[in-house]
Symmetry: C2
Subunit: 620 residues, 2 copies
Amino acid sequence: MADINSKLEIGVTTGPIRGSKKIHVGPLGVAMREIHLEPGSGEPPVRVYDTSGPYTDPNATIDIASGLAPLRRDWQLARGDVEEYAPREVKPEDNGQLGPDRSGGVPPFPTALRRPLRAKAGMNLSQMHYARRGIITPEMEYVAERENLGRARLTEYKRDGESFGASIPDYVTPEFVRDEVARGRAIIPSNVNHPECEPMAIGRNFLVKINANIGNSAVASDLASEVDKMVWSIRWGADTVMDLSTGRNIHDTREWIIRNSPVPIGTVPIYQALEKVGGVAEDLTWEIFADTLIEQAEQGVDYFTIHAGVRLPYVPLAAKRMTGIVSRGGSIMAKWCLAHHKESFLYERFDEITEIMKAYDVAYSLGDGLRPGSIYDANDEAQFAELYTLGELTKRAWAQDVQVMIEGPGHVPMHKIKENMEKQLEACGEAPFYTLGPLTTDIAPGYDHITSGIGAAQIGWYGTAMLCYVTPKEHLGLPDRDDVKVGVVTYKLAAHAADLAKGHPAAQVRDDALSKARFEFRWRDQFNLSLDPDTAEQYHDQTLPAEGAKSAHFCSMCGPKFCSMKISQEVRDFAAKQNQPVQTFIASEEEAEAGMKAMSQKYEEGGRELYIGAGNREHD
Amino acid sequence: MADINSKLEIGVTTGPIRGSKKIHVGPLGVAMREIHLEPGSGEPPVRVYDTSGPYTDPNATIDIASGLAPLRRDWQLARGDVEEYAPREVKPEDNGQLGPDRSGGVPPFPTALRRPLRAKAGMNLSQMHYARRGIITPEMEYVAERENLGRARLTEYKRDGESFGASIPDYVTPEFVRDEVARGRAIIPSNVNHPECEPMAIGRNFLVKINANIGNSAVASDLASEVDKMVWSIRWGADTVMDLSTGRNIHDTREWIIRNSPVPIGTVPIYQALEKVGGVAEDLTWEIFADTLIEQAEQGVDYFTIHAGVRLPYVPLAAKRMTGIVSRGGSIMAKWCLAHHKESFLYERFDEITEIMKAYDVAYSLGDGLRPGSIYDANDEAQFAELYTLGELTKRAWAQDVQVMIEGPGHVPMHKIKENMEKQLEACGEAPFYTLGPLTTDIAPGYDHITSGIGAAQIGWYGTAMLCYVTPKEHLGLPDRDDVKVGVVTYKLAAHAADLAKGHPAAQVRDDALSKARFEFRWRDQFNLSLDPDTAEQYHDQTLPAEGAKSAHFCSMCGPKFCSMKISQEVRDFAAKQNQPVQTFIASEEEAEAGMKAMSQKYEEGGRELYIGAGNREHD
C-alpha cells in the first residue's frame, strides 16, 4: 500500500491498520485507533494507543515534501514566550562534505528555510518549567487523554499486579501529568521546532513506551528508505524514533524525518560533531559540539543523547572488561578524554548544554556510554560509576527545569536486571529509565530481538519507562524494513507484558477482548485485535485459506474432531443450567457425588448433546 | 542438505552443524558437539550440549527405514530383569481406520514386528527404582558426563546467580544423578523399548531442557514431514519431542518417529484412545485406554501425558473462565466425567496405570488439563485445584518408584509466574516442572514464541526443569519446518538465559567465548558459537557479503569510521602500558588529575596512535 511520492520517490506506507479506524477524541482531537468487532458479538469496540499519526488516517493527505501539519504551533505561540529568528546557516560540513566521499547528496527539504522558534531572552520553554509553575499545558492535556485508553470500562476490572513502588493512577488527569512532569518522574519530549509531534509521556506511571532506531551509515541505507522506516516503525507502534545516521547527509536526512514525524525524534549529536571533524575524535571541540546542538535544536530534535557521564577517571575501568566500551558515543568521549588528558567537555560544560536545551525544550537522554556489552561485563564498576554521575547530572538539569531521562543497559543476565532498576531509581531520583533490552544472553545473534525482549519485559515491569528496541540484525547488520517491524512488534508485546504485570488498569482490556474472540471462534476479531493483524491472518491462512474457515468453529491445529473450546462452552452451559454453587477442590466425597448426579441428569435431559468439535491446540 | 531416502522418500537433514564437529566422550562415548575457533585466536574449542544424534555425525550411516542403532540394548539386557515377548497385535483402529476417512494409509515401519521387552513378573524397570536401590545405571553415568559440559574450565568462573533454592553442583557425578532420580527431583525418560534414545535428565538441578511438539492432524501434515520435523527439531536443540498426532495413521507414524529418534518421545495416549472410539468421548473406557498404553509402551514412548488431575468436582470451576478448558486431553476427560456423572477413570485407576508404567519405565508427565488459556484465567481455582491433585498423584506414583514430571501453564502474566513455580514445588515435592511457555500476554498471535519465551525464561529461572516450546503459529495453525526451527531456537535461548540466571557453572562459557570473538572481530567464530550459525551469517552477509568482511575489523552497523570495540582495545592497551591501579568512581580530583597526566603522556609517546575504526552498534 505504498504511495509513491512522484516528486521525490519517497514512498511510505499509508492507509488504516487492518480492522481498525482512526478516531479523534476530546477537544484536542487526540488520535486513537478503534478496533470494531463482529456486530453479532455484541462486544464494544476496543480503543488502542495509536502512534501511527496521519499516515493511517484515510482523511489525511500525505505529502512527504510538505511534511505534516504543525499540530502544536498555536499552543506554542499562545504562551507568548517564544520568538522567531533567522536560523543558523546550513554549512557544507553539516552534511559531512568534509570527508573524502562527496557523493550521495540528498535534496534539502523544500521548506527547510522556515524561521525556527526559541525562548525569548530569559525564558524557559521546557514542559517541566511550566509544570513547576503550576501550568497545565495543552501537551499535558493531550497526554492525559491519550493515556486513558480503555479506562472508561475500568469498573469491570479489579486492579491486579506488582508495580514495585510505581504510582499508577486509576485515571490520568491533566493535573496528574503536570505533577509527574514537575517531579521529573515523566517527560514530554516536545522541541518547540517540532510542532508536528503528537504529545506523549515517558514515565514509570504511564504506559511503557518503546523506541525504534533508524538511520543510515556510510556503508548502507539512503534517505528514502530512512523516511519509509520511520513511518513504518510508528505504524506498528514505535512511540519515539531515534535517527542514528552517520556518514553523509546527516542534516538533510534528519530534516526530512522530523518534518514527517508525528512522534518525538531523538539523536546522538556527537555523531554529527565527529563527522564535522573528519572522524578524528581528539579534534572535537566544545564549540563544534555546541554549534551542532543549536543546529539540531533548530530542526526540532526532541531529545539528545548526551554521554556526559563518561568521565576520564572511569575510562580505565573499561580496560578490565570482556568487551570494553560498546557505546559509540561513549567510546568517542573516552578517546577524547585520553587524548587530551582532560575531563570530558560534556561533563564540564553540562550547565551550558542545559541552557541550550531549555531554550528549545530539548530533553536530555543521558547516555550510558559505559553500559556492558556482554554478560561478563554486566553490573560492573564502570557501569555503576557512570550511573551515579548521571544521577548527579540529572539534578543539575532539574535545577534549570530541563527534562531528563536516563539510558540503561545493554547485556545483563536476568538475575542482575533488578539491581539496575533499583540503582537507577535511587541514583537518578525516579527520572525515567530508558533501556536497551537488556539482552539476557550473548549466544543468539540473529535472535537478539528475543534475547533482549525477555530482559525488556522484565525491566519494564520493574519500572523502566521506555524500552529501546533491538532487531534481529543486532550485532550483524543494519535493520531493513522487515527487521524494523519485527523489532517494533516484539517490543510492543514486551511493553504490554510489563503493563499487565505492573497492574496498569487499562492494559488487560485488549487481552480479554482477544481471548474472548478466540474462545468464540471470531477469527477476524482475533486477527484485528492482535499487534500484527496481517501476520496473524497470513499464518492462519497457510493451513486453512478458505474464507469459510474464518467463521469455522474449528481450526487446523486439531482438525474438525478435537475441540477444547467447544466442550468448554458445553461445560459452561451445564453449570449455568444446573446453577449450583461451584465446588472447590476441597469438595467432600458427598458434595462431589451430588455434583456428579446433578450434572449427569442435566446431561441426559440435554439429549447427550455433547460432541467434540475442534479448536485450540496447546501442546495437549 | 537433505538426504532423500529413495525407498520411502522420507528426507531428513544430515551433516554437521556449521563450524562444529561431533565428538564422543568417555567410556560410554557420550555424544557432544565441539566448536573449533580460529587457530590464530589461541582460544580452546567450546563444547556444547548436543541433542542432534547421529544425524550430525559424518561417520554415521542414516537409513530411516532401518532406524537408529539400539545404544542402550546391552545395558538393558545386562540388568537381567527384562523379558522379550510377543507384542500386542496391531489392530486397524490403532491407525484410526474406524472413522469415515480410510485414505492416507502410511507404510508400516519395516522392522516393526520385532519383539518388545517388558519387566519380568514382579520386576520394575524404572530408573527411579534402580536409583532407590542404590544402583548407578549406565543411563545415569551417561547423563553425568553429558551435563558436565564446559565444567573442566570451571576454575576460571566464580559461581554467580540466584537459583531460588535449587542445588546445582559444581560438578555432576553419577552418584549425584542417582540421588536426584531417587528423590524424584529428576527423571531420565527411558522406555525399555526405545533403546535408540541417548539418556538425558530433566530436573531443576540440571541444565534447563526444552521440548518440541510435532504431529499431524486430520487436516494437515503427513508421515514424511513429521519424521523430518523430528530430526530438524533435535538438530537445533530439542531435548525431547512430543508426537501429538491425531487423525489417521497414529500408530505407524509414531513407529517411524520413535525408531529414528535419539531423544525421548512423549505422547498423549488419550488422543489415540479417542480416535479408537470414533471421537465420541463418552464412549471411552478404561479397557480401551489401558490397551492404548500397552500399545504405545511396546513401541517405546518414553513419557505419557496423563490428565488424571481433571477430577469431576473441578469441572464446574472451568465454567467461570474466560476461555474454559484449553487442553484437549483435559476437555476430553471433562466431557467424559460430565457424561457419566463419574469420577475420571484416569484418577480412579491411577495405580493400575502406574503398574503399566513401571513394566516399561514410561515416565508420567501429569497433564495440567485445567491450565489457563488466557491472562484472565491465570492462577485460578480450577488450575490450582488440579495442581494439588497432581501432587497427590505424584506421591502415589513414587510409592511404586515410577518417574514423574508435572505439566504447567499456559497463559500467565509475569507477576503471577512465580506463584506457579512455588506452588508446584510445594504440592509436588520438587518433581520436575514442565511448562508450556507461559505466554505473558494474549495480544500477539503470530509472535507467541516470543510472548511465551519471556515467560519461559522466567519460570525456567525460578526452577522449571523443561520448557515446552511454542511456535509463531500457536493459536493459528500447524507449525511448518521453519516455525519448528524458530520455536526451538527461541526456547534454547530462553533455557540458556535461565541457566545463566540460576548460576549454572557451565552456562557462561559459551557467552564469554562468543563475546570475546565479537570483541576481536572473529566473525566466523561469532557465527559458529551462536545457536543458529546459518542465520547469523546470512544476516551479516545481507549488508556485507564480501568474503573479506568476515575478517574485517568493522561492520555495516557503523561503517569504517565509527568503532567502539576498536577504541576499547586502545583503552585497554593504555591501561596495560601505564599499568597503574584502576581508579574507582570515587576518585578524588588529585587522583583524577594524576591519571589524566599519566595517560596523556603515554598517548603522546604512542605517537597519537588512536583512530576510530568501526564496530559494534548498540543504539548509540
